[in-house]
Every structure is written in C-alpha cells, then in structure tokens.
C-alpha cells in the first residue's frame, strides 16, 4: 500500500477495499458460525457452542454418498476436460488454423449460455436418444462446461513458453510424442495442475446441470438443495460447508506452493 501514508489515515481506495471485502465476506462468515450453534434453527440469538452437527454430518449416509458421488464425477470431469482442453490449447497456440476465432468461440459457448438452457437442451437430446439419466450424463454435461475453462488456463500457460525448446528437441532427434512428454509436458505441468483444480471445483459446485441430468444418485449440490427445504437438515449441511471450506484452503495453499515451484523451475531453465 501507499508507503508514505500512516495506516490510521488510509486513502479512499483502501477504505473502499475494506468495505468491499466486508460485503463479500460477511454473509458467508455467518454460515460456519451457525454450524457450531446449539439450535437447529438458523436464527438469532445464538444458543451456545456445540459440535453435534459435525457428528451428525459424519453419521448421515445420504450426505456422505452425495459427497462421494460429487468427488467421483469431479475427478473424472477434471481429467477429461483437462485432456480436451490441452489438445485444443495446443492446437490453437501451435498451429495457424483458419477460423481460429470461430473454433475458439464455439468451444467457449458454454460460458455464455445460461446454465438452465444448456441443461434442458442436453436433457431433451438424452431423452430422445433413450439414454438413461445417471452420474455419467451429469459428468458429460460438466465436461462440456469445464473444457472451455481448461482451454483458457492452458492457453495462457502455453503462450508463455518458448517454442524453440520443442523445436530443439525435435532437431536433436526426439519424436513428436517424446518431445511432448519430455519437453512440453513438464513446462505445461503447472497449467495442467491449475486446470485440474479449477475444473474439479466447477464440477464439484455445479448445481443446475446436475439437477436436470441426474436420476436417483444425487451430487452434493443436489443433496444441499433438497436439504434446504428441511430446516432440521440444514445445520449438518453448514457443518459440511465449513469442512469443505477448510479443506479447499489447504488445497489452494498446496496449489500455490506447487505453482511457485513451477515458476522456480522456469527461472532456472532460463526464462
């Protein structure tokens, strides 16, 4: 911040930043608060501290099953959409493709279409093809949504590195596959990790597509949605929300550590 200004006399921007952060933090901070509250009603005044909702969370099989479903779908979606994103990113950054803008625009469409419309379109297609709804159909829909994100993350990583490294490997006699594996892949790895994390997060939190495209197996957001109608179930859901938040914190910390490692490898290899 501005060095020649004492902290007790902040400038307008700093004041604004604090107000803004309060606005985005305040509502979500009340949720973990109620997960420790000794009352099943999400209302003031608070009744006292308890860990019973965390206990209940662990002892609710439906909730854990929904969590596992979301993790399964999320992992599969992360891997597939990152692979699709990687192929597309490599194609548009390495080759001069006619109609590059149109192709990229087409892949980006899921980002600029209201989720509900994508969901019902897929629902209609899937029902016309007589494909039963399941976690697979949810996964497919999530993959469509996540591929553009994966592509954007990977493009920004691939544009950053020197093409000569690949050419040098090819000149020195590596074939295309080994060049990819031994040169391209290690350099793009931080981008791949970022893409895996981002796409997993998107799939893990996605509600609308899953709502329309699953049958009896709920994903976590669907479980949360159905719990919001039953006041007695809400505290355990809030406990779960708080737990996921803490876990994400460690994942992001790990990712940041990994990214810094990636940056360091870059600087030692000369750029």
């Amino acid at each position: 911040m501005n060095a020649n200004r004492p902290w007790w006399r902040p400038d307008g921007f700093t004041v604004y930043a604090v107000i803004y952060l309060t606005f985005i933090y305040l509502p979500v901070l009340f949720l973990p608060l109620f997960s420790f509250n000794k009352s099943k009603y999400i209302a003031f005044p608070l009744k006292g501290f308890t860990l019973q909702w965390y206990q209940k969370m662990i002892n609710t099989p439906d909730l854990l099953e929904a969590l596992m479903n979301s993790v399964k779908v999320g992992v599969a979606v992360a891997i597939l959409s990152t692979m699709f994103g990687l192929l597309a990113a490599k194609a548009v950054t390495r080759y001069r493709i006619p109609g590059r803008g149109a192709v990229m625009g087409f892949i980006m469409v899921p980002l600029v279409i209201p989720g509900i419309i994508l969901a019902i379109s897929l629902l209609i297609l899937i029902s016309q093809l007589d494909i039963p709804l399941s976690l697979w159909t949810v996964g497919f829909a999530h993959m469509l949504l996540c591929t553009p994100f994966a592509m954007l993350v990977l493009i920004s990583r691939m544009e950053g590195f020197d093409r000569c490294l690949e050419e040098a490997a090819l000149d020195l006699g590596e074939n295309a596959w080994m060049t990819f594996w031994r040169v391209t892949f290690p350099i793009v790895l931080p981008g791949i990790v970022a893409s895996l994390l981002l796409t997993f997060t998107i799939s893990f939190d996605e509600f609308v597509l899953a709502f329309f495209l699953t049958s009896t197996d709920p994903t976590l957001p669907i479980y949360i949605w159905s719990s919001l109608r039953f006041p007695t179930k809400i505290p355990a859901v809030l406990a779960l929300g708080a737990s996921i938040f803490v876990i994400s914190f460690f994942v992001v910390a790990f990712a940041e550590w990994f990214r810094r490692r990636g940056v360091k490898t870059d600087s030692t290899s000369g750029f």
Partner: protein, 303 residues
C-alpha cells in the same frame, strides 16, 4: 496395373506430405476430439431444443409436426414476456452493480498494491469457495425474519419488530446475485487493468492531463475489454438463474429460469419450455449485440 499402384502410392505419399506440411490440417486433427465432443454435446442439443420448440406436448408424447403454437402462446400470454423483461432488468441491475462495485477494487489491486497482489486476489476469491447454494442461502440468513439484519437492528433498538420486506422480493434477488457473482466481475477487470502499459499513463500526465482525465481517456478505454468480459460473464448466466429467485425471490421475484424449470417439471410442457428458452437466447443475444455495439462506439469516441 503396376502403374496405377505406384500412382496411388504417390498419391498416398502426397497426402501424407500435405498433411504433415499443412499446419491447418495438423491443428484441426489435434482439435478434432474436443470439437467432436463439443459438437455432440453443444451443437446437437441446441439443434434438438430448437426443433422441439416447434413440436407440441401430448401427455407423455410429442406431436412431431411443425407448429408455431408454442411461440404464439408465448406472445399471447403476457406473463412470459413480462417475466422475461423482469429477468433482464434484474440481471442488468446485477451486472451494473457488480461491475461498478468491482472496478474500484480491481483498480486498487492493479495500481495501488505493489507487493503480494496474489494474496489480495486470493482474498477476493476465498468467499467463493463456499458452495453457490450455501452462498445464496447465506442471504436468507442475512435478510430473514430472525436474520442478521433484523437481529442487529433490534438489538440496537432501531426497530421493535423484525422487518419483513427484506426478503422475498426482486431487490433481495439482485443483492444476492450481485454478491454471488462478484468474483466473475473483478478478475477480468483486474487482468485488463494489469495489462495496461504504465508508460502510457505517465505520457498522458506529462502531456498535461490531470489524474481524472488520464483515467477517463487512457485507463478506462484500455480496460474496456475487461469491463465487457465481466459484464457478459455476469449478465448472461444470471438471466437464466433460478436457484436465487427460488430461495430468496418469493412470488414477486420469480425469473424466467423458474418458468423454464416448471415447464420441465410440474407444468410438464417440454415444447413450450423449449420455445421459451429459444426466446430467452434470442433476447439475450440481441441485448449482447447492442451492448457490444454501444461499448465499441464508446471506445471509438473516447480514444
């Protein structure tokens, strides 16, 4: 015989050479798995949606003959058009609010923070690690009958009875959406501000512009791509949102997403739902085009 064999071999070789030589072909073959998946998962469903919008529902089956009935229904019953317009108004307000609120924050991080920008960016995104549904629910906790605002006002003695008008109306929907989508506005604007060449700002100052005019004539036009991206990323998905209106909107806060959802649920009229979806897409596309044209003119006039 042998001659034709050699010629086909040379043709094969020529094709192979063309393939290796042509960047476009190699690029497209690398793209093909992704493109194929997107065609199957995106182009086909949208085509089917469009087709279905001209069919009719007959109990559990569809009448598969071409008909304009769904569209004439859409225009005959003013409720659909009204709710669509209301959804656009709400999303427009949400977009305006998120972008206006996010811009100074993005500017602050891009220009005032010298070290640890990443910490600030993470600080911005941390609230969004909470599930979207729970973030929307959080506003029920904030604005509800025994919620944070009511309890707070009561405890400081400003009110004696909880205020009931806070929740279940379009304003609650707008506020909740503006909160839920804040990160989508701030990040693109930050990226475009960060990209601005600082020497351009110095040049403007050296040439005698004051700080405000430098902002209006240099910083703002150069950050417009971020503002445009942020507006589209917030506006388009929120038009179709039905989670927020169902949780905090109440009867007066219903949006077009709720109508579409009911057509595929309780009301069970898929073709009419498809027709409404097509109308939503057409309207949104038209509005986006007008918006892009407007911002384009703005940039040309200022810059």
């Amino acid at each position: 015989m042998s001659r034709s064999a050699t010629s086909s071999k040379t043709v094969g070789l020529a094709i192979r050479r063309r393939f290796l030589a042509s960047e476009a072909l190699r690029g497209f073959s690398l793209l093909s798995p992704t493109l194929l998946a997107m065609v199957f998962g995106l182009a086909m469903p949208l085509l089917v949606l469009f087709t279905l919008s001209f069919w009719l529902q007959d109990y559990v089956d569809f009448i598969k003959t071409f008909s304009w009935k769904n569209y004439s229904d859409f225009f005959a019953k003013p409720i659909y058009g009204m709710i669509l317009i209301k959804s656009i108004k709400i999303s427009g307000m949400v977009t305006l609010a998120t972008v206006l609120l996010a811009y100074p924050m993005a500017y602050f991080i891009a220009f005032r923070i010298k070290a640890n920008k990443l910490v600030w960016l993470i600080l911005i995104t941390v609230p969004f690690w909470t599930s979207y549904l729970l973030r929307v629910f959080a506003w029920k906790v904030m604005l509800g009958y025994n919620g944070v605002v009511n309890s707070g006002l009561k405890s400081i003695g400003l009110i004696s009875e909880p205020l009931e008008f806070l929740l279940y109306n379009p304003t609650a929907v707008t506020l909740t959406l503006a909160h839920a989508w804040a990160a989508f506005a701030i990040l693109p604007i930050y990226v475009s501000l960060e990209k601005i060449d600082r020497s351009l700002l110095e040049a403007a100052r050296d040439l005698g512009e004051n700080a405000f005019m430098t902002f209006v004539r240099v910083t703002l036009p150069l950050s417009m791509p971020g503002v445009i991206a942020a507006s589209l990323l917030v506006f388009i998905p929120t038009v179709g949102d039905y989670v927020t209106p169902s949780l905090v909107g109440g009867p007066s806060g219903i949006m077009i997403g709720n109508i579409i959802q009911s057509m595929f649920g309780k009301a069970f009229n898929w073709p009419l739902g498809a027709a409404i979806s097509v109308m939503v897409m057409l309207t949104v596309t038209a509005m986006v085009c007008v918006f892009l044209w407007g911002t384009h003119r703005f940039r040309r006039r200022v810059a």
